[in-house]
Amino acid sequence: MKKQITEIRFHGRGGQGAKTAADLLAQTALEAGKHIQSFPEYGPERAGAPMRSYVRISDEVIDLHCGVSNPDIVAVIDPTLLSINPPVTEGVGKEGILLVNTNEKPEDIRKKLNFKDGTVYTVDATKIAYEETGLPLPNTAMLGAIIKATGIITIDHLKDQLTKKLGKKLSPEKMAGNIKAITKAYDTAVKG
């Protein structure tokens, strides 16, 4: 039953938009007719503190209401979290995908984390975000890379959802920048 559900874990720091990224991903999937859950792990909430956020996506109704312990996809939004304990690879199985925001190559990340079986993707999302939006907020760019790695949603759906959700909050230039960042991250994410 469970394997019909795709489970995603985001690692970020408070204020980097890991929760927003998780919500955007889930809401985009919902619009595409999937069943979804999106929930952050609430600890001591403050800017800069390591935090996790989870997404479940399924074609069936999702009954599970426990935490995600064996994610299919792990997205590390902040590369300084690669050294945290427990490691970001915790609970990731052989089929698992690890996606890291870094300027390093997948092979280097694989070695660094001693991550043997799964697939590794890297993307320099912070740089892309900085270039396209002027802000070091890599969350939207990371979603572009997640689409590349999984195909779980489409870029067009994500763009629609982004406009819907943040259209009022962001200026047109920032919105265009975010959309560019998504496409650029999609194009430049490397598999290894």
Binding site: D23, I36, Q37, F39, L64, H65
Partner: protein, 394 residues
């Protein structure tokens, strides 16, 4: 066409409140119910509901304002959690004793000390004897639907009791799920106009509320209140049928999952039921006759329904997300045992698990362990320990 919106449990609650459009909401924000109060305030500020929003200085005042508003004859709602519910305590009894149909969203959270903001049932379970009807919800969809349903329950002329709609703190309240919405007009029609019976502000027919009631009459009034709670069970079932016509959704006091031929079962409340359902499916694939019993309406306690559901079991585990600290098990266990002991000829060996305090996650592995224990009990008929704990380092 009904829309599906991405909503947290809290926003599902406030959306239902928007559609109900109550006359008065008096509330004080507290984690994890804050977003209900916050988003409903925004709804009112944006003119999407014409509710009189009463921001108060404490939960004691919130419930007191609700009592006043409801007594005056208007539809009244509130939301709270944990310490907030605890601070409402004495007024909860007054709301129920005065038979005021107030609706509260209670986001279940642990009680201090030690201080903790996460989900468990300590608050709701503590309030189980306050005279409020209690409904426990598994997910955001249920929070939304039960929030609407509760209006009809509370205001039913034969019930006239306050209703508490419970959801799990953070697990449900802060998780976004797809929630299928009803049309505003349909909800408006379903809940109808509140027509109060003998309200305080009907100046042409003056009545006295809350007079002193001594040895000669207090007992009769309390009996009357307790009887209303007993009778409400039948009315709630009738209202479920009506809700079914309105929504197509089938709700029962007690939900049974794969119980037709089940030999072992877990009985639980709220979000844990979903995870249990997943484990039941896994066990069924292995040929283990497992089932799940979910108590939706905990007050009034569905004694007959629980007993009937457990009738053919060989072993039962009751999950309590609150410890009574009575020296014995949880509150749900006590009530379930009363049902089994009094109503069933065959005594099912039953064990209690206290779990998930302070938001401690209950995962499939923990539930599987409990089922494994039940497999053993079913085989041997022997219960090793009645009171057990899951997920705690002892």
């Amino acid at each position: 066409m009904s829309k599906i919106l991405p909503l947290t449990g809290d926003h599902a609650a406030s959306e239902s409140m928007r559609q109900i459009n109550p006359d008065v909401v008096a509330a004080y924000p507290i984690t994890p119910a804050t977003e209900i109060v916050m988003s409903f305030s925004q709804i009112v500020a944006n003119g999407l509901a014409d509710t009189e929003m009463v921001p108060v200085e404490s939960e004691h005042s919130a419930m007191s304002a609700c009592v006043g508003a409801s007594a005056s004859g208007v539809r009244t709602m509130t939301a709270t959690s944990s310490q907030g519910l605890a601070l409402m305590w004495e007024v909860l009894y007054i709301a129920a004793g005065m038979r005021l149909p107030i609706i509260m969203h209670c986001v279940n959270r642990a009680l201090s000390a030690p201080i903790n903001i996460h989900g468990d049932h300590s608050d709701g379970m503590g309030a189980r004897d306050t005279g409020w009807i209690q409904i426990y919800c598994e997910n955001a969809q249920e929070v939304y639907e039960m929030g609407i349903f509760a209006v009809r329950v509370a205001e039913h002329k034969d019930i006239m009791l306050p209703v508490m709609v419970n959801q799990d703190g953070f697990i449900t309240s802060h998780a976004i799920e797809g929630v299928k919405m009803f049309e505003d007009a349909d909800v408006k029609k379903f809940v109808g106009e509140y027509v109060p019976n003998m309200p305080l502000l009907d100046v042409k027919n003056p009545v006295t509320f809350g007079p002193i009631d001594l040895q000669d009459y207090y007992f009769e009034h309390k009996f009357q209140q307790a009887q209303a709670m007993r009778d409400s069970k039948k009315r709630i079932v009738e209202l479920f049928a009506e809700f079914n016509k309105f929504s197509g959704k089938k709700y029962e006091l007690v939900e049974q999952y794969k119980m037709e031929d089940a030999e072992i079962a877990i009985l639980a409340l709220s979000s844990t039921c979903g995870t249990t359902r997943v484990v039941v499916n896994e066990l069924r694939e292995k040929g283990i006759k497992a089932g799940m019993i979910k108590i939706r309406v905990f007050r009034p306690f569905p004694m007959d329904e629980v007993a009937a559901a457990c009738k053919n079991l060989k072993a039962l585990a009751v999950l309590d997300r609150a410890d009574t600290c009575s020296g014995e098990g949880g509150a749900v266990f006590g009530d379930v045992c009363t049902a089994i002991y009094n109503l069933n000829e065959k005594k099912v060996p039953a064990i209690n698990y206290v779990y998930g305090l302070g938001g401690r996650d209950i995962d499939e592995a923990q539930i599987k362990n409990i089922f494994n224990e039940l497999v053993d009990i079913a085989k041997t008929g022997q219960v090793k320990t009645v009171l057990n704990y899951s997920g705690v380092r002892i």
